[in-house]
Symmetry: C2
Subunit: 683 residues, 2 copies
């Protein structure tokens, strides 16, 4: 079976012999791969011409709904069954496959949910508050994010053929950028199957996603400054791609996530017998054996207090002794094969280099000398778990040689400073972890080690049961790390979406900025309803951004303050005791309660009758900017600032700029009132 | 005079002959430059070993205070006078010099102010809210920013010897990262003078800033993943540095800001005679002549509606005819020299290439044929303003050949789509501008063009008087652009600081995350005062993060609601009309006012007596999460979430997590109360 590519709306199958892809366990051919004859320049052009405009016409919420529908279509029992069945060919155990398949689908769900909750139902989004750039207020700034007008080229590693594609595709599509997926050859058959199901779902707009099975040809030659490459794989390949003359010349956005020599640190408080000691041993073993250790986030360096090194080693050896290697289809097997014989040989070579600097404690490189259950150890890519001890933890090799398989090295440390220094010797890691119930040790280590890590997992007896583990990136948190880890960043919720967008600083009059962004900015024109209709009487569609209500006035009396204090119980001295209030650095005497000011403001701006305004669900950025004294007269200027219609509800959010001023026109309080407002009823 | 470098706490002067740097107007030697024998690896080491730890020990507010003091020390009249005097050697007019010198110093002031207002008085800062990662709440995430542990290498261009240094130095030092400044040779004498004054001020911690006058030697060979390079200059040099094997291999953070072919668009509404037409002509002329057009942000392409092209050309020629080129020391001279004869020759070559695709309308390449006032046209680097007309605006050259001098090309466009397409032909620009009083045209153009620009200036009659102009980056807004502009980003307020920091995702129990970050996270341990002292009775230093008050209860009655409505005037139907409220999709009947809930909450948590709590200055992120009905009983859980002592005031901000729940333990409202709390009185 020759794998196909999906290009310009059609499946394309190369006519040459291709390269065989072998079953990791049996060594039998699973598929062949080739992209010979594929028009990659045409794919880029199609994505730019068809895919981009189609995606950019959708709002973030519409794209989020598409991701959710995609996730649902991939989640059916038949779908999952076929994905899992094919995943077995990669050498994965059922648990390994779930990490990849269910993990990938859940990333789609999380991005869908975050897109709806954290982005507006619009095609662009704002970044930060407006910047006031002038004295008179006629000139201001606002940062805006828009999708890049190019193509996101998503280059995935062999170890997560499903998750690797989906964790990149979800944020790019949510951003509004079409993608070209390029899986690593070894396991591309699984990526191709999942991609095929996505295409069949009919949920992807034309040109939004294309697939290259096989080499990318001269694709990089055609990239521009509007394109983005998101790469996961080896540091050597990352370096080569990032150094491509076209990538350099056109400042192509390039994000790399490369394997790193991640460490896990056992705290000095975590004595043998403690919860954290046991949790640590379990985690190191898990990271060595899940995916046969083929995770860029796996623990390669186990940093332990030197006085517990012996106990750690003993506990690890005991646990590793129970690992059963073989065909994951066999019951009782707990660790499968590596993805290919080539991978196995690379790991062997790395372990040979490591063993020059560290003692090989457990495991072997000799294929004949360990048990493989239910499979031929010569044809499958098997290795046993391999544990080393770096008696001299300051040797270079243990911090620089990565064995991308079931391999870890125990390194004893002397002090928290030594542990942090050893962690930094990895020269940049995707993730580190700390197992300790002493938060002051954890804080000290984190503040030293954070600069070298993209993620730090902090485990103790309280968090362990719900911890997602050292090796699992989450869509909510950034994934990537400095230096050896590639210097990139993916995921992290909406942060990962912004990698596919351009941040542009806009400068102009507040009125113009409001017209461009759709969000009212202080200083912009305030619109009056010509007929004087109160804004609370208008449905969502009928409210105009900038529409403003200027209310009547209300004078605050000492009696109001007394009554408010009596009825709420808030008798804070600044409201009740004239002399004490005057001693306060901010007041000249008794002042009105802040909560009284906002309550009276509502009394001024609210239109009481039943109507389209459904609820006031919150309030943001309230600042009391001047004291209100008895006798002061308040007035509210209430402006429709932003509307966010919900896709699937008969209402939307409306944000109102609320400015409360006194008789001298000075602003005494400013905040955003958040309401739900009904759409027009269906005719 | 040989320029010196400042390395490892000492001034270093090379002993070789160096390279002469010539006065741009007179051609006489101003200084010589060489870094022969400079130990650049030692400088990196010194910055990492001495500068970094020293800076990281300071809080953001302390670093901000240092920037302000630096700015003040450079602002004295004597200082400014000597800077301006030397700046004249670069060919700058007094106005040009002010852009560079005053512009640079004001960037220090803005960063100082933003550091104090927008960053905490702490050594690290948080990014975004906590992420809840588990059902039971024992496992959460929080992103944290810490300074990189390396060196920021700041490579500046020749055209802004002061601003160029300071706009990079301010955010890096504020981030807590030591810098090595490397000015372009041509004008390094001015950078060296300002740097010398900064060193003399004694305000910079040891190792925080070093200077290389001359070549950088093998500096790049020694960079690591903890270092950052921030480069401004030509695209070719950016490409070379970014492609350096060590930069690629170690994922050195690299930010480039390169010259681009920026455009300015005249709107179709801006007919000859309109305000915007006149503003446009003035801006194009200004951008051609300020700094003799040697600005990476200058307008190279003037996009005008084809029907006004003739009028625009005529107006530009008239205005350009009044420009007086010469020695800026001569009264009446409005445009000075280019920075060097080499620069002049490069511009001439570029104009020759351009004139193959566009008609040369005004100006000349012949040095004998234009007037130079008060200087020798053969020895000074003079050029007249040069205007071209690209009758065929779709030719490649006009969008790709940059003449880095007083040169612009007028390009007629047919439609808004055509204008956007021509803008994009620049393949990425630092800045674009639009002159139009038609906001719908502006919006349409911005949404198409934003992806290709780092900044877009939108000018009309309302904003023009206060506009800072097409060519001026502001510290508040990002500076940089995609593609040809280098794909980087500087400034943008605190955004520019974060370039020098590592974002790390922390995962762990809320209690551990609180201990590490110093900010209380929901779900973390709540501390009780052992003696039951109310938190309002404690000074800033005595409050502990997590310290919690659980209040008594208060039952809300229908009478409370009636009374609140009567006293505030807020008679919204959901509070007053049981049937109307029940028709609302969110309520079962009359509900308490949200403002009543927060007022009653204050009645529960406030301790009334005079004490360390000075004021409630605001409230954030209020959400009403469940309706409160008459008969419901409220209780408040009030937790000290974050403390932010001010450096120079006897108080600080305290943020309180405020959770209002009902008799069933359900949260009905959640928000942060913001207060000012006094420090302990001095003994």
């Amino acid at each position: 079976m020759m794998l196909s590519s999906y290009a310009q709306g059609h499946w394309y199958t190369a006519r040459d012999e291709g390269t065989p892809l072998l079953h990791a366990v049996t060594g039998e051919e699973v598929a062949r791969i080739s992209s010979a004859g594929l028009d990659v320049a045409g794919m880029l052009d199609y994505a730019r011409r068809v895919g981009g405009p189609g995606l950019r016409a959708l709002t973030f919420h519409q794209r989020a709904a598409m991701l959710k529908a995609l996730a649902q279509s991939l989640s059916g029992p038949e779908r999952k069954a076929e994905f899992h069945a094919l995943s077995a060919a990669t050498g994965a155990t059922p648990a390994d496959s779930a990490l990849d398949i269910e993990g990938g689908i859940s990333t789609l769900f999380v991005y869908s949910s975050k897109g709806r909750r954290e982005l507006p139902n619009d095609t662009v989004c704002l970044d930060g508050p407006p910047e006031l750039l002038s004295r008179k207020g006629t000139f201001a700034g606002q940062h805006l994010y828009v999708p890049l007008h190019g193509v996101a080229v998503l280059i995935d590693a062999f170890n997560f053929p499903v998750w690797g594609m989906l964790e990149k595709l979800a944020p790019a599509l949510l951003a509004g950028m079409p993608v070209i997926v390029k899986p690593a050859s070894q396991t591309a058959y699984l990526t191709e199957l999942v991609f095929r199901r996505m295409v069949e779902s009919g949920l992807l707009p034309d040109g939004a996603a294309q697939l290259i099975c096989g080499g990318v040809g001269d694709l990089l030659e055609h990239l521009t400054g509007q394109d983005a490459v998101s790469f996961t794989g080896s540091a050597a390949t990352a370096q080569k791609l990032r150094g491509h003359p076209v990538v350099l010349r056109n400042s192509v956005r390039f994000n790399a996530e490369a394997d790193s020599l991640n460490c896990s640190v056992l705290g000095p408080d975590a004595k043998p017998g403690s919860d954290e000691f046991d949790l640590y041993v379990r985690e190191v073993v898990r990271e060595m054996t899940v995916k046969a250790g083929q995770k860029c986030t796996a623990i390669r360096r186990a940093l332990v207090p030197s006085e517990y090194a012996g106990a750690v080693v003993e506990a690890l050896r005991e646990a590793l002794g129970k690992v059963r290697v073989g065909d994951p289809a066999e019951s009782g097997v707990t660790m499968g094969a590596l993805a290919s014989l080539g991978q196995r040989d690379e790991v062997r070579r790395a372990v040979e280099r490591l063993s020059g600097a560290a003692e090989l404690l457990q495991g072997t490189l000799d294929p004949g000398s360990f048990e493989v259950e239910g499979a031929d150890p010569e044809r499958g890519a098997f290795l046993p778990p391999i544990l080393l001890l770096g008696g001299d933890p300051d040797r270079d090799e243990v911090h620089t040689v990565e064995a991308f398989g079931p391999v870890s090295t125990v390194l004893p440390y002397q002090s928290v400073g030594h542990a942090a220094a050893l962690a930094a010797r990895g020269e940049g890691s995707l993730v580190g972890s700390v197992f300790s119930f002493d938060d002051s040790f954890v804080r000290q280590l984190v503040l030293e080690a954070a600069a070298h890590h993209g993620r730090l997992l902090l485990v103790n007896r309280e968090s362990a049961a719900e911890s997602t583990g050292h090796g699992s990136p989450l869509p909510h948190l950034v994934h990537g790390g400095p230096g050896r880890a590639g210097g990139g960043e993916e995921l992290g919720g909406i942060r990962g979406v912004l990698h596919y967008m351009q941040r542009t600083a806009l400068q102009g009059s507040p009125t113009t900025l409001t017209a461009v962004t759709g969000r009212w900015i202080p200083g912009a024109a305030r619109l009056q309803d010509p007929a004087g209709v109160h804004p609370f009487r208008k449905h969502l569609e009928d409210l105009r951004i900038g529409e403003t209500l200027r209310t009547g006035t209300r004078t605050v009396t000492l009696e109001d303050i007394e009554r408010f204090a009596a009825s709420t119980g808030d008798r804070f001295y600044a409201h009740m005791d004239n002399e004490a209030a005057a001693r306060n650095p901010f007041f000249d005497g008794r002042v009105a309660h802040g909560y009284l000011i906002v309550a009276l403001a509502a009394g001024l701006f609210v239109d009481p009758d039943e109507g389209p305004v459904l609820a006031n669900y919150g309030l943001e950025n309230l600042r009391f900017t001047k004291p209100v004294y008895p006798g002061d007269t308040l007035r509210v200027t209430f402006t429709c600032k932003e509307k966010n219609p919900r896709e699937a509800e008969p209402y939307g959010e409306v944000r109102w700029d609320t400015e409360v001023s006194n008789q001298d026109g000075e602003v005494v309080a400013r905040y955003d009132v958040l309401t739900l407002v009904a759409k027009r009823p269906a005719p």
